[in-house]
Symmetry: C2
Subunit: 279 residues, 2 copies
Amino acid sequence: MSKSAGRGKAATGLVVLGEARGRAPGRVRLVGAGPGDPELLTLKALKALQAAQVVVHDGLVPDEILALAPADARRISVAKRKSRHSYAQSEINRMLVAFALEGLEVVRLKGGDPFIFGRGGEELEACRAAGVECEAIPGVTAALAAGASAGAPLTHRGAAQAVTFVTGHAADGQVPDLDWPSLARANHTVAIYMGLTTAGLIAERLMAAGRDGATPSLIVVDASRPHERRVASTLAGLAAAAQGLEGPALLLVGEAMALAQVDAGAYGGYEGAAMEAKA
Amino acid sequence: MSKSAGRGKAATGLVVLGEARGRAPGRVRLVGAGPGDPELLTLKALKALQAAQVVVHDGLVPDEILALAPADARRISVAKRKSRHSYAQSEINRMLVAFALEGLEVVRLKGGDPFIFGRGGEELEACRAAGVECEAIPGVTAALAAGASAGAPLTHRGAAQAVTFVTGHAADGQVPDLDWPSLARANHTVAIYMGLTTAGLIAERLMAAGRDGATPSLIVVDASRPHERRVASTLAGLAAAAQGLEGPALLLVGEAMALAQVDAGAYGGYEGAAMEAKA
């Protein structure tokens, strides 16, 4: 059990005192910090952060954003770590509830949007079950930032009539059991979160389900950050394109990705086909 | 031909003069204004707006946001209108290019995100074809705001492993030719933009393709605005729930919508099934 979780439990002990004294109830706000660029924070998220007494944050949230909370606000990282204790989701849920019951203004700060692969729904349910007020503040999810940086529209007339967000990383570290035939349909952008290490397997599954190996694909690492990197490939070349890349990444697969402006890689002459598809 | 488009053409005539005099080149920024609440604007969008000399905007962008541009910035509405001239996309493209070539700082301000059903890709292509610098600034798209307001996660462990954004309104005003079998798969949230008038037909198509008529569904009108309205129903009841509603709306269909907090309507006892699905 980590120190912070221990404090969370101790905090629960204080609740009764707080309530007995008529202390104002605390609350939890699930705040989307956006994709990483501090300027892509919303004004509402900024205000919430400035009013926070406790900030419970992911590893994806950069220091410049954490610095926007008051100097005396408590900051708790619940980042996934390979070598140290990682917080189970249930521990995070308990911690949020405990701080709020202590009367504190709690910000649960998440990369992107709290309800797109952020497990915000589970935290919301935990708050509701405990009778704790919980509000969500939406944020710019990474796929939108990746498309904007690359100049590649996620939906586009004649080339992408829909966009689907999936995760490329199941709880067991393997490729999730997704609905591959649906994702393999043409004229459709698939945005895959956390798919860098499984890029090759994802490409295989999509092609096995019928998606054209020549489909333009894009890897965006650290979207919106100064060290952002964009690599283009075909779907068939996605595994090779992912080689050597590290960090939070988006895979974007779809005909409209032919419009992307990139640092490296190429679509292998697919552009003509994409233009034809749009005509 | 409208006055503004006429001026756009006159502006093109000035380009050569501007270039001959070494005037700094203008540029176009495709800016996501977010879902409507001015506080859901990003800091980057706010800065772009404050630096704009021309703001070309949709009807969905509220006055409070337009007021953030400098008082002397030219504001041009290209809103769809029933009774008056509506701008064709090609006219908007030409206007953006013409202003930028005149050396102006142009903001193309769109509700939500510029690359989610905003036709931003077409404007980007027009700028590139004309050699005009074009940058996209992402925004909080309406589906994220609708989920956050309702407390309904668009992805949720055990209930929504993916989310797909589609439009419910084709260019001809009819229901678009979407991939209904894919959208009908369970354990998946479908966010339908501009689907209020076609809600009944969309529900029929989804059910015909196999989606359970008991699937929790949510209509959010004017997401994030003071007069936001949220109505719950089952998929089978969507047409009835949409009756009498007006304004920019999101339809959200999926098991995770059982978590939504609403103003009116009910899921008809589906909650138990959704909870079961999550277990």
